[in-house]
Symmetry: C2
Subunit: 201 residues, 2 copies
Protein backbone atom coordinates (compact mmCIF):
# COMPACT_ATOMS: atom_id res chain seq x y z
CA UNK A 1 0.00 0.00 0.00
CA UNK A 2 1.24 3.50 -0.81
CA UNK A 3 2.55 5.45 2.20
CA UNK A 4 0.32 8.10 3.79
CA UNK A 5 0.43 11.74 2.81
CA UNK A 6 2.20 13.70 5.54
CA UNK A 7 0.23 16.70 6.75
CA UNK A 8 2.16 19.23 8.87
CA UNK A 9 0.23 21.98 10.61
CA UNK A 10 0.15 24.32 13.59
CA UNK A 11 -3.06 24.55 15.62
CA UNK A 12 -2.82 28.36 15.44
CA UNK A 13 -2.75 28.37 11.61
CA UNK A 14 -5.96 29.41 9.81
CA UNK A 15 -4.85 27.83 6.53
CA UNK A 16 -3.87 24.68 8.45
CA UNK A 17 -7.44 24.53 9.78
CA UNK A 18 -8.91 24.86 6.28
CA UNK A 19 -6.61 22.12 4.97
CA UNK A 20 -7.55 19.85 7.89
CA UNK A 21 -11.17 19.91 6.71
CA UNK A 22 -10.26 18.63 3.24
CA UNK A 23 -7.03 16.66 3.21
CA UNK A 24 -8.36 13.24 4.29
CA UNK A 25 -11.14 13.32 1.69
CA UNK A 26 -8.71 14.33 -1.05
CA UNK A 27 -6.36 11.50 -0.14
CA UNK A 28 -9.20 8.96 0.15
CA UNK A 29 -10.38 9.72 -3.40
CA UNK A 30 -7.05 8.33 -4.54
CA UNK A 31 -6.98 5.40 -2.11
CA UNK A 32 -4.53 7.14 0.20
CA UNK A 33 -4.44 7.94 3.90
CA UNK A 34 -2.95 10.92 5.76
CA UNK A 35 -0.69 11.05 8.81
CA UNK A 36 -1.19 14.26 10.78
CA UNK A 37 1.79 16.07 12.30
CA UNK A 38 1.12 19.12 14.47
CA UNK A 39 4.33 21.05 15.04
CA UNK A 40 5.40 24.40 16.45
CA UNK A 41 5.49 26.78 13.50
CA UNK A 42 7.35 29.34 15.61
CA UNK A 43 10.43 27.11 15.44
CA UNK A 44 10.39 27.34 11.63
CA UNK A 45 9.85 31.11 11.83
CA UNK A 46 13.11 31.33 13.80
CA UNK A 47 14.86 29.81 10.78
CA UNK A 48 13.03 31.80 8.10
CA UNK A 49 12.69 35.15 9.89
CA UNK A 50 8.93 35.10 9.18
CA UNK A 51 6.23 36.01 11.72
CA UNK A 52 2.49 35.37 12.08
CA UNK A 53 0.72 36.80 9.04
CA UNK A 54 -1.92 38.99 10.73
CA UNK A 55 0.79 41.14 12.35
CA UNK A 56 2.59 41.91 9.11
CA UNK A 57 2.25 45.25 7.29
CA UNK A 58 0.31 44.89 4.02
CA UNK A 59 0.33 41.10 4.16
CA UNK A 60 -1.72 41.07 7.37
CA UNK A 61 -4.85 42.83 6.07
CA UNK A 62 -4.77 40.76 2.85
CA UNK A 63 -4.56 37.47 4.70
CA UNK A 64 -7.18 38.36 7.30
CA UNK A 65 -9.54 39.01 4.38
CA UNK A 66 -8.36 35.87 2.61
CA UNK A 67 -8.80 33.54 5.61
CA UNK A 68 -12.52 34.32 5.65
CA UNK A 69 -12.82 34.29 1.85
CA UNK A 70 -11.07 30.92 1.61
CA UNK A 71 -13.38 29.46 4.26
CA UNK A 72 -16.49 30.90 2.62
CA UNK A 73 -15.46 29.38 -0.68
CA UNK A 74 -16.31 25.92 0.50
CA UNK A 75 -18.76 26.76 3.25
CA UNK A 76 -16.52 26.21 6.27
CA UNK A 77 -17.31 28.09 9.49
CA UNK A 78 -14.58 30.61 10.28
CA UNK A 79 -13.88 33.04 13.11
CA UNK A 80 -10.52 34.58 13.96
CA UNK A 81 -9.69 33.57 17.53
CA UNK A 82 -8.90 36.28 20.04
CA UNK A 83 -6.24 36.68 21.28
CA UNK A 84 -4.28 35.72 18.19
CA UNK A 85 -1.69 34.37 17.66
CA UNK A 86 -1.45 31.95 20.56
CA UNK A 87 1.11 29.22 21.22
CA UNK A 88 -0.47 25.81 20.68
CA UNK A 89 1.92 23.82 22.86
CA UNK A 90 -0.71 22.12 25.04
CA UNK A 91 -2.99 20.73 22.30
CA UNK A 92 0.02 19.66 20.22
CA UNK A 93 1.37 17.65 23.14
CA UNK A 94 -2.09 16.21 23.79
CA UNK A 95 -2.25 15.09 20.16
CA UNK A 96 0.98 13.09 20.44
CA UNK A 97 -0.09 11.63 23.78
CA UNK A 98 -3.30 10.33 22.16
CA UNK A 99 -1.30 9.05 19.21
CA UNK A 100 0.97 7.10 21.53
CA UNK A 101 -1.56 5.95 24.15
CA UNK A 102 -4.69 5.54 22.02
CA UNK A 103 -4.47 5.47 18.23
CA UNK A 104 -4.17 7.75 15.16
CA UNK A 105 -7.96 8.00 14.79
CA UNK A 106 -8.39 9.29 18.36
CA UNK A 107 -5.56 11.79 17.86
CA UNK A 108 -7.14 13.00 14.62
CA UNK A 109 -10.58 13.34 16.24
CA UNK A 110 -8.93 15.43 18.93
CA UNK A 111 -7.14 17.60 16.37
CA UNK A 112 -10.39 18.19 14.51
CA UNK A 113 -12.07 19.23 17.78
CA UNK A 114 -9.20 21.61 18.61
CA UNK A 115 -9.37 23.26 15.17
CA UNK A 116 -13.17 23.42 15.38
CA UNK A 117 -12.94 25.37 18.61
CA UNK A 118 -10.09 27.61 17.46
CA UNK A 119 -11.28 28.65 14.01
CA UNK A 120 -14.87 27.40 13.93
CA UNK A 121 -15.75 29.19 17.18
CA UNK A 122 -12.90 31.69 17.43
CA UNK A 123 -11.69 30.45 20.83
CA UNK A 124 -7.91 29.90 21.23
CA UNK A 125 -6.69 26.55 22.56
CA UNK A 126 -3.35 27.46 24.07
CA UNK A 127 -3.29 26.62 27.76
CA UNK A 128 -3.63 23.13 29.28
CA UNK A 129 -7.13 23.87 30.66
CA UNK A 130 -8.48 24.67 27.18
CA UNK A 131 -6.67 21.64 25.71
CA UNK A 132 -8.32 19.44 28.37
CA UNK A 133 -11.77 20.97 27.82
CA UNK A 134 -11.60 20.07 24.14
CA UNK A 135 -10.61 16.53 25.11
CA UNK A 136 -13.48 16.28 27.60
CA UNK A 137 -15.95 17.19 24.86
CA UNK A 138 -14.93 14.08 22.94
CA UNK A 139 -14.76 11.76 25.94
CA UNK A 140 -11.17 12.08 27.12
CA UNK A 141 -10.67 12.40 30.86
CA UNK A 142 -9.45 15.98 31.44
CA UNK A 143 -7.33 15.16 34.48
CA UNK A 144 -5.63 12.36 32.59
CA UNK A 145 -4.90 14.64 29.62
CA UNK A 146 -3.64 17.49 31.79
CA UNK A 147 -1.31 15.13 33.64
CA UNK A 148 -0.09 13.44 30.48
CA UNK A 149 0.96 16.61 28.69
CA UNK A 150 3.19 17.58 31.61
CA UNK A 151 5.32 14.46 31.14
CA UNK A 152 8.90 14.83 29.93
CA UNK A 153 8.50 12.17 27.26
CA UNK A 154 5.58 13.89 25.53
CA UNK A 155 7.29 17.27 25.65
CA UNK A 156 10.32 15.62 24.06
CA UNK A 157 8.12 13.97 21.42
CA UNK A 158 6.70 17.32 20.27
CA UNK A 159 10.17 18.85 20.26
CA UNK A 160 11.45 15.97 18.13
CA UNK A 161 8.50 16.21 15.71
CA UNK A 162 9.10 19.94 15.35
CA UNK A 163 12.85 19.49 14.80
CA UNK A 164 12.19 16.80 12.20
CA UNK A 165 9.67 19.02 10.42
CA UNK A 166 12.13 21.90 10.22
CA UNK A 167 14.92 19.53 9.15
CA UNK A 168 12.68 18.35 6.27
CA UNK A 169 12.18 21.92 5.13
CA UNK A 170 8.72 22.54 6.58
CA UNK A 171 8.51 26.33 6.97
CA UNK A 172 4.76 26.97 6.88
CA UNK A 173 1.34 25.56 7.72
CA UNK A 174 -0.15 23.59 6.10
CA UNK A 175 2.80 21.80 4.54
CA UNK A 176 2.08 18.49 2.88
CA UNK A 177 4.37 15.81 1.46
CA UNK A 178 3.02 13.49 -1.22
CA UNK A 179 5.54 10.69 -1.70
CA UNK A 180 8.28 13.10 -0.71
CA UNK A 181 7.05 15.95 -2.92
CA UNK A 182 6.54 19.12 -0.83
CA UNK A 183 3.49 21.38 -1.16
CA UNK A 184 3.06 24.50 0.94
CA UNK A 185 -0.24 26.23 1.56
CA UNK A 186 -3.96 25.58 1.62
CA UNK A 187 -4.25 26.93 -1.92
CA UNK A 188 -2.11 24.04 -3.15
CA UNK A 189 -4.75 21.40 -2.39
CA UNK A 190 -5.95 21.35 -6.02
CA UNK A 191 -2.36 20.71 -7.11
CA UNK A 192 -2.08 17.87 -4.59
CA UNK A 193 -5.23 16.34 -6.09
CA UNK A 194 -3.73 16.64 -9.53
CA UNK A 195 -0.42 15.19 -8.35
CA UNK A 196 -2.25 12.18 -6.90
CA UNK A 197 -4.36 11.74 -10.05
CA UNK A 198 -1.48 12.05 -12.51
CA UNK A 199 1.24 10.53 -10.33
CA UNK A 200 3.25 13.74 -10.57
CA UNK A 201 4.20 15.76 -13.63
Amino acid sequence: MAPPLEFYFDFASPYGYLASLQIDAIAAKHGRTVSWHPFMLGAAFKATGQSPLPDQPMRGPYHIRDFARSARRFGAPFRMPSPFPFVALAPSRAFYWLLEERDPAAAKRYAAAVYGRVFGEGRPVGDPAAAAEVGAAIGIDPAELTGAIQGTAIKERLRRETDQAVARGVFGSPFIFVDGEPFWGHDRLPQIEEWLARGGW
Copy 2:
Protein backbone atom coordinates in the same frame (compact mmCIF):
# COMPACT_ATOMS: atom_id res chain seq x y z
CA MET B 1 -18.48 46.78 -20.34
CA ALA B 2 -16.94 45.41 -17.16
CA PRO B 3 -13.62 47.03 -16.20
CA PRO B 4 -10.39 45.15 -16.93
CA LEU B 5 -8.73 42.87 -14.43
CA GLU B 6 -5.64 44.62 -13.02
CA PHE B 7 -2.49 42.52 -13.22
CA TYR B 8 0.47 43.76 -11.14
CA PHE B 9 3.84 42.09 -11.66
CA ASP B 10 7.60 42.58 -11.49
CA PHE B 11 9.69 41.49 -14.48
CA ALA B 12 12.04 39.66 -12.08
CA SER B 13 9.21 37.56 -10.62
CA PRO B 14 8.99 33.90 -11.72
CA TYR B 15 5.40 33.56 -10.59
CA GLY B 16 4.59 36.83 -12.35
CA TYR B 17 5.98 35.30 -15.56
CA LEU B 18 3.80 32.20 -15.16
CA ALA B 19 0.70 34.32 -14.53
CA SER B 20 1.49 36.47 -17.59
CA LEU B 21 1.16 33.38 -19.80
CA GLN B 22 -2.36 32.65 -18.56
CA ILE B 23 -4.13 35.75 -17.29
CA ASP B 24 -5.41 37.15 -20.60
CA ALA B 25 -6.89 33.80 -21.64
CA ILE B 26 -8.59 33.36 -18.26
CA ALA B 27 -10.12 36.83 -18.48
CA ALA B 28 -11.17 36.35 -22.12
CA LYS B 29 -13.13 33.20 -21.24
CA HIS B 30 -15.35 35.45 -19.15
CA GLY B 31 -15.49 38.31 -21.65
CA ARG B 32 -12.99 40.37 -19.72
CA THR B 33 -9.73 42.14 -20.56
CA VAL B 34 -6.61 42.71 -18.47
CA SER B 35 -4.59 45.85 -17.85
CA TRP B 36 -0.95 45.08 -17.13
CA HIS B 37 0.98 47.01 -14.47
CA PRO B 38 4.67 46.28 -14.05
CA PHE B 39 5.94 47.77 -10.80
CA MET B 40 9.05 47.61 -8.63
CA LEU B 41 8.42 44.84 -6.13
CA GLY B 42 11.42 46.00 -4.09
CA ALA B 43 9.38 49.05 -3.02
CA ALA B 44 6.74 46.75 -1.52
CA PHE B 45 9.46 44.64 0.14
CA LYS B 46 10.60 47.79 1.95
CA ALA B 47 7.13 48.01 3.49
CA THR B 48 6.72 44.30 4.28
CA GLY B 49 10.30 43.42 5.25
CA GLN B 50 10.25 40.58 2.72
CA SER B 51 13.10 39.78 0.30
CA PRO B 52 13.46 37.84 -2.97
CA LEU B 53 12.41 34.23 -2.34
CA PRO B 54 15.45 32.36 -3.67
CA ASP B 55 17.72 34.01 -1.07
CA GLN B 56 15.60 32.99 1.90
CA PRO B 57 16.51 30.11 4.21
CA MET B 58 14.13 27.12 3.80
CA ARG B 59 11.72 29.09 1.61
CA GLY B 60 14.36 29.57 -1.11
CA PRO B 61 14.96 25.89 -1.94
CA TYR B 62 11.22 25.16 -1.85
CA HIS B 63 10.38 27.96 -4.25
CA ILE B 64 13.25 27.26 -6.64
CA ARG B 65 11.84 23.73 -6.93
CA ASP B 66 8.30 25.06 -7.19
CA PHE B 67 9.05 27.62 -9.93
CA ALA B 68 10.09 24.79 -12.25
CA ARG B 69 7.32 22.45 -11.06
CA SER B 70 4.66 25.13 -11.59
CA ALA B 71 5.97 25.83 -15.11
CA ARG B 72 6.15 22.12 -15.99
CA ARG B 73 2.56 21.68 -14.87
CA PHE B 74 1.28 23.49 -17.89
CA GLY B 75 4.17 23.01 -20.25
CA ALA B 76 5.74 26.49 -20.01
CA PRO B 77 9.47 26.85 -20.71
CA PHE B 78 11.34 27.85 -17.57
CA ARG B 79 14.94 28.72 -16.74
CA MET B 80 16.12 30.67 -13.69
CA PRO B 81 17.98 33.73 -14.97
CA SER B 82 21.51 34.34 -13.80
CA PRO B 83 22.31 36.61 -12.07
CA PHE B 84 19.14 36.64 -10.00
CA PRO B 85 17.50 38.69 -8.66
CA PHE B 86 18.01 41.69 -10.91
CA VAL B 87 16.35 45.11 -10.84
CA ALA B 88 13.89 45.44 -13.72
CA LEU B 89 13.87 49.22 -13.88
CA ALA B 90 14.72 49.56 -17.60
CA PRO B 91 12.09 47.20 -19.05
CA SER B 92 9.42 48.53 -16.68
CA ARG B 93 10.07 52.07 -17.89
CA ALA B 94 10.07 50.86 -21.49
CA PHE B 95 6.67 49.25 -20.90
CA TYR B 96 5.11 52.54 -19.77
CA TRP B 97 6.77 54.43 -22.61
CA LEU B 98 5.16 52.02 -25.10
CA LEU B 99 1.84 52.31 -23.28
CA GLU B 100 1.96 56.10 -23.56
CA GLU B 101 3.49 56.46 -27.03
CA ARG B 102 2.08 53.39 -28.79
CA ASP B 103 -0.79 51.42 -27.25
CA PRO B 104 -1.59 48.77 -24.63
CA ALA B 105 -1.19 45.93 -27.14
CA ALA B 106 2.36 47.04 -28.03
CA ALA B 107 3.26 47.38 -24.36
CA LYS B 108 1.87 43.91 -23.65
CA ARG B 109 3.78 42.39 -26.59
CA TYR B 110 6.92 43.97 -25.19
CA ALA B 111 6.20 42.64 -21.68
CA ALA B 112 5.68 39.15 -23.06
CA ALA B 113 8.99 39.37 -24.93
CA VAL B 114 10.79 40.55 -21.76
CA TYR B 115 9.38 37.71 -19.70
CA GLY B 116 10.17 35.23 -22.48
CA ARG B 117 13.80 36.24 -22.42
CA VAL B 118 14.03 36.37 -18.61
CA PHE B 119 12.33 33.12 -17.63
CA GLY B 120 11.95 31.30 -20.95
CA GLU B 121 15.65 31.68 -21.79
CA GLY B 122 17.10 32.47 -18.37
CA ARG B 123 18.62 35.82 -19.42
CA PRO B 124 18.03 38.82 -17.13
CA VAL B 125 16.63 42.02 -18.59
CA GLY B 126 17.89 44.62 -16.17
CA ASP B 127 20.05 47.19 -17.96
CA PRO B 128 18.91 49.52 -20.74
CA ALA B 129 20.90 47.63 -23.39
CA ALA B 130 19.05 44.38 -22.68
CA ALA B 131 15.72 46.22 -22.51
CA ALA B 132 16.44 47.73 -25.96
CA GLU B 133 17.53 44.37 -27.41
CA VAL B 134 14.19 42.87 -26.44
CA GLY B 135 12.43 45.79 -28.09
CA ALA B 136 14.50 45.43 -31.27
CA ALA B 137 13.42 41.80 -31.56
CA ILE B 138 9.78 42.95 -31.86
CA GLY B 139 10.46 45.88 -34.14
CA ILE B 140 11.05 48.76 -31.76
CA ASP B 141 13.97 51.02 -32.58
CA PRO B 142 16.59 50.38 -29.88
CA ALA B 143 18.00 53.93 -29.90
CA GLU B 144 14.53 55.38 -29.53
CA LEU B 145 13.73 53.05 -26.61
CA THR B 146 17.06 53.71 -24.87
CA GLY B 147 16.54 57.44 -25.16
CA ALA B 148 12.91 57.31 -24.05
CA ILE B 149 13.54 55.44 -20.82
CA GLN B 150 16.02 58.08 -19.70
CA GLY B 151 13.33 60.74 -19.73
CA THR B 152 12.20 62.27 -16.45
CA ALA B 153 8.52 61.82 -17.25
CA ILE B 154 8.77 58.07 -17.78
CA LYS B 155 10.86 57.58 -14.65
CA GLU B 156 8.19 59.51 -12.79
CA ARG B 157 5.44 57.39 -14.35
CA LEU B 158 7.00 54.14 -13.08
CA ARG B 159 7.54 55.66 -9.65
CA ARG B 160 3.89 56.73 -9.56
CA GLU B 161 2.65 53.31 -10.70
CA THR B 162 4.76 51.66 -8.00
CA ASP B 163 3.56 54.04 -5.30
CA GLN B 164 -0.03 53.46 -6.34
CA ALA B 165 0.44 49.70 -6.29
CA VAL B 166 1.86 49.78 -2.77
CA ALA B 167 -0.88 52.20 -1.66
CA ARG B 168 -3.46 49.68 -2.92
CA GLY B 169 -1.89 46.93 -0.85
CA VAL B 170 0.07 45.17 -3.59
CA PHE B 171 2.88 43.37 -1.75
CA GLY B 172 3.78 40.52 -4.11
CA SER B 173 3.91 39.44 -7.75
CA PRO B 174 1.63 38.49 -9.37
CA PHE B 175 -1.11 40.45 -7.62
CA ILE B 176 -4.43 40.68 -9.41
CA PHE B 177 -7.56 42.71 -8.72
CA VAL B 178 -10.88 41.45 -10.03
CA ASP B 179 -13.44 44.22 -9.58
CA GLY B 180 -11.49 45.41 -6.56
CA GLU B 181 -11.08 41.95 -5.03
CA PRO B 182 -7.36 41.21 -4.40
CA PHE B 183 -5.69 37.90 -5.25
CA TRP B 184 -2.01 37.28 -4.58
CA GLY B 185 0.02 34.58 -6.25
CA HIS B 186 0.16 32.47 -9.37
CA ASP B 187 -1.52 29.60 -7.53
CA ARG B 188 -4.64 31.75 -7.13
CA LEU B 189 -5.44 31.75 -10.85
CA PRO B 190 -7.99 28.93 -10.43
CA GLN B 191 -9.73 31.01 -7.74
CA ILE B 192 -9.77 34.00 -10.07
CA GLU B 193 -11.44 31.82 -12.71
CA GLU B 194 -14.00 30.73 -10.15
CA TRP B 195 -14.54 34.32 -8.97
CA LEU B 196 -15.21 35.39 -12.56
CA ALA B 197 -17.52 32.43 -13.20
CA ARG B 198 -19.54 32.80 -9.99
CA GLY B 199 -19.31 36.57 -9.65
CA GLY B 200 -17.66 36.17 -6.26
CA TRP B 201 -18.69 34.09 -3.27
